[in-house]
């Protein structure tokens, strides 16, 4: 628990998708961490967690990226990112190195410090002073790596329950994969499509107006499908709602001006 | 020579040659000890509760249970059941307890002592134990208990003494070893309810190849 004497120094693992697609997610993560009393820095040397190489069987490239990331986050008390999948990948680094390799010990050390944002706030900091409002009904998709590798399930729900006016309506099969799977969605596009179509049906059936999740990959996939199907359900990353950063249109929605206009109409 | 190649591969994978005495120790002590693994709490009840659990679980598995005060009541109970089902013949196993019974209560139902055959409508056998954990019967083959009686007839009636009901499977194994000096009978049948299949559209249908009905005659001894 942070207190006046101790402000944890957190290195933000931005994730490439937040960096490129949705900076708001990274800014919202920073805001939440600061609200929880952390000092946040963004190490320059980070790029991607290396998961595309890892899951394509390219161990050498994965190791190189792992070493770079380990170095980038040396000296931070914690490493926190807005993605169960990317933080999960950081946890896999230790498996890349042989017993006795000094990099293995450094990777283990990183693993002990690396957290997905909602689990960091709840499990590590016991923080729940969320001051945000959301006028709508959401449904929550549990992304696979966060859920099954890192045990992220109740944490986002606990935090969301503190958001004023927000209602949570659980969908059927919230824990079933959305079909994104990194390179899977382009290697096996029609299977991926079936999975995300099923997901889209469950989302609609929940009656929620907003889909919320903790991983941008999955959210881009599901939002892209919902929009292609012409559905009105919007998609947002959980930190946007928790930090009250809702200025940007939801994922895949029209530009801000037009968006505001459409809302008025 | 397949055997040598297979064992050779395994040993290469394990990073050793033929196991020496030290390397054999772990496996041999396990074989000798026959220790229990984790037994679920459900199976660790006082005997009276085990009998109740057995009944509940067997009924859940779609077995029928008829409770009797003594084995002498078996012929009458069987007779009533078979008359109601309009079955005219009962094939019995040769176990001493069944042979010792006065079967006159069967009336016009014919009693035959033989192995099971295609077309048999009903059989009656003894049992070795009941396992409360899942309502499972344990039967085994012997000169007086042909296995075909457990599978060919449409109706299988099994005499079970409440005193032979144990909690977990493990207790049944231990009793089986004791009863047969460590020699396994040729066939041991653990039976939990009547035959069924869900191979057509995952819809459960009773009576696939084995008995359509399993009647447990539970002797509260």
């Amino acid at each position: 628990m942070p207190n006046a004497e101790h402000q944890p120094l957190v290195g933000l693992f931005v994730t490439c998708l937040a960096d490129m697609f949705r900076p708001t997610v990274a800014f919202a993560t920073v805001r939440l961490l600061e609200q929880a009393g952390c000092i946040v820095e963004v190490p320059e040397k980070q790029t991607c967690c290396g998961q595309p190489a890892f899951n394509s069987g390219d161990r050498k490239t994965t190791q190189d990226i792992a070493k770079m990331t380990i170095e980038a986050f040396d000296g931070y008390e914690y490493v926190v990112g807005p993605s169960g999948s990317c933080i999960g990948m950081l946890h896999y680094y230790a498996d890349l190195f042989d017993e006795g390799d000094p990099w293995k010990a450094r990777a283990e050390d990183l693993k002990a410090r690396a957290f997905e944002i909602t689990s960091f706030l709840v499990d590590k900091l016991d923080f729940d002073k969320i001051s945000a409002q959301y006028d709508g009904t959401i449904t929550y998709h549990d992304s696979c790596s966060g859920l099954r590798q890192l045990g992220v399930k109740q944490q986002p729900r606990k935090l969301l329950s503190k958001v004023d006016n927000l209602e949570l309506e659980e969908m059927e099969e919230a824990e079933t994969c959305c079909g994104f799977g990194g390179t899977f969605c382009v290697k096996y596009p029609d299977i991926s499509n079936r999975m995300v179509s099923n997901k889209s049906e469950f989302i609609s059936a929940s009656g929620a107006d907003t889909l919320v999740g903790g991983d941008l990959g999955c959210l881009l996939n599901m939002a892209g499908k919902l929009k292609r199907e012409g559905k009105s359900v919007e998609a947002r990353h959980v930190v946007e709602i928790l930090a009250g950063m809702l200025d940007q249109p939801a994922i895949g929605e029209a530009d801000a001006d037009k968006y505001a206009l459409a809302k008025q109409v | 020579m397949s055997k040598a190649e297979i064992l050779g591969n395994i040993r290469r994978g394990l990073g050793r040659g033929e196991p020496n005495a030290t390397q054999r120790a772990a496996a041999e002590s396990r074989l000798a000890a026959k220790d229990n693994n984790l037994i679920p709490k459900r199976a660790l009840l006082p005997q009276a509760e085990q009998v109740q659990l057995f009944k509940d679980m067997a009924i859940e598995a779609a077995a029928e249970i008829i409770e009797l005060a003594s084995i002498a009541e078996v012929p009458m109970a069987a007779s009533e059941w078979l008359h109601k089902a309009n079955i005219q013949e009962l094939i019995t196993a040769s176990s001493p307890e069944l042979k010792a019974l006065d079967w006159s209560a069967l009336g016009d139902i014919q009693l035959s002592e033989r192995v099971g055959q295609v077309g048999d409508m009903a059989s009656i056998t003894s049992s070795f134990a009941g396992i409360a954990e899942t309502g499972t019967l344990m039967l085994h083959s012997s000169s007086d208990s042909p296995t075909t009686l457990n599978f060919l007839p449409d109706v299988h009636m099994v005499v079970l003494h409440a005193s032979t009901i144990v909690g977990p499977y493990e207790d049944a194994w231990k009793q089986l070893r004791t009863a047969h000096n460590g020699v396994m009978p040729r066939t041991v049948n653990m039976i939990t309810g009547p035959s069924r299949s869900a191979d057509i559209e995952q819809k459960l249908q009773m009576g696939a190849h084995g008995p359509r009905t399993l009647v447990i005659l539970l002797i509260n001894d």
């Binding site: 899951n55 929605e253 | 396994m184 869900a198």
Partner: protein, 467 residues
Amino acid sequence: MQIKSPEFKENARIALQDVGLQKALGNLKAGFPVKRAAAVERMPEFEDLRDQARDLKNHILENLDIYLEQFESKVVENGGHVHWARTSEDACKTILDICQQVGAKTVTKGKSMVSEEVNLNEYLEKNGIEPVETDLGEYILQLREDHPSHIIAPAIHLNLEDVSEAFHKHHHRPKSDDPAVLMQEAREMLRKKFVAADVGITGANFCVAETGSTIIVTNEGNGDLTQTLPKTHIVITSIEKVVPTLEDMTLFQRLLARSATGQEFTVYNTLSTGPRREGDQDGPENFHVVLVDNGRSEMVGTELQDMLRCIRCSACMNHCPVYGAVGGHSYGWVYPGPMGSVLTPQMIGIENAGLLPNASTFCGKCESVCPVRIPLPKLMRHWRENEFEKHLSPKAVRYGISGWGFFAKRPALYRWVSRSSAWFMKKMAGKKGRINKLPLAGGWTDWRDMPAPEGQTFMDQWKQGKR
């Protein structure tokens, strides 16, 4: 069985459009996973049992040669025979020899995936022996000249009409749309076969080293008739199925049915120990066990050793969203789903089966339900690495990953690529906020929109001091 794994993508494409198959797969999804969850709920010790089962299997594999030899000696002591088969060919040949020695014309078969693996039926037929499948699902498939698409519910890909059609054609009776009537028909037809068979062949779920027993687990009772009525009983099984004692077998029994069908216990758990004893009134006079290797012994001591813990419950495929979408036949060989994606490359070669371990989102559902905690995603990744090292991965993947890796290892360059891509995609999207068609990303935009980036990257904005 013909290998169709290299056509996985095409198989999947067809499967996704097959209305009947999709309907049938719906039955699976609504059935096994729900029932398993309920069974697990009733067994508070379930997770601890899984831990113990994993540890016990590891112990067995560390002592596999010892337990196998012990098992063999006990079978022999009880008057049975053990045959070791290095390959499918060895296994088939061994079984044919036994059948010929007893002058067999027809054999009945209980359900056995190992017999599918070695392609036994075809081999026996070619040599003039008629194999008759007796498991209801397998029987339906045999009539249709089809193969299992699931390891415990072999005909899961069929609907009632398919079964009705096949029975009508072969039994020459009126069609019925009542599963109970159809099952009754099969029961009657197979009664005659059970009695007429010279040999009965079953698989084994476990082989008990302590006693030399093999055990089969069935709901129908077909395996029991198969092994009790003919004069000769042949068990075809594989080397990793050995367990030390009856108590050890019981640990796996507690997990098997619950993980598979969600039953508390399967109806018939039957142990066979040698041939009939003196004085017995029935039972087989000859008892043979064929221990099949087929690449398993090479897995010992490697990362794939964990796969040898598998008890063939099917929980991994029952819960797999990819299996649920495309069905078992898409995988193109005997073992489908996650366990198949690990095992098949070992048995038919990664060059034939490379698409299988790639056909996973690594969602981890399979591992989360595996009763012996096999790290299936990790083992599928093992094959992807193997494929990558052997330069068997598709060129697009290899070049794509090395190109991407080049940038990912250089933060400044990576920034530049992210910045340009964000700018470009934002531009393409215009005010719509999403892109309908993106060059080089057809796999994505054929099916869904690509949400547009906000514009500037986070790293750029952060550097500019935005908070």
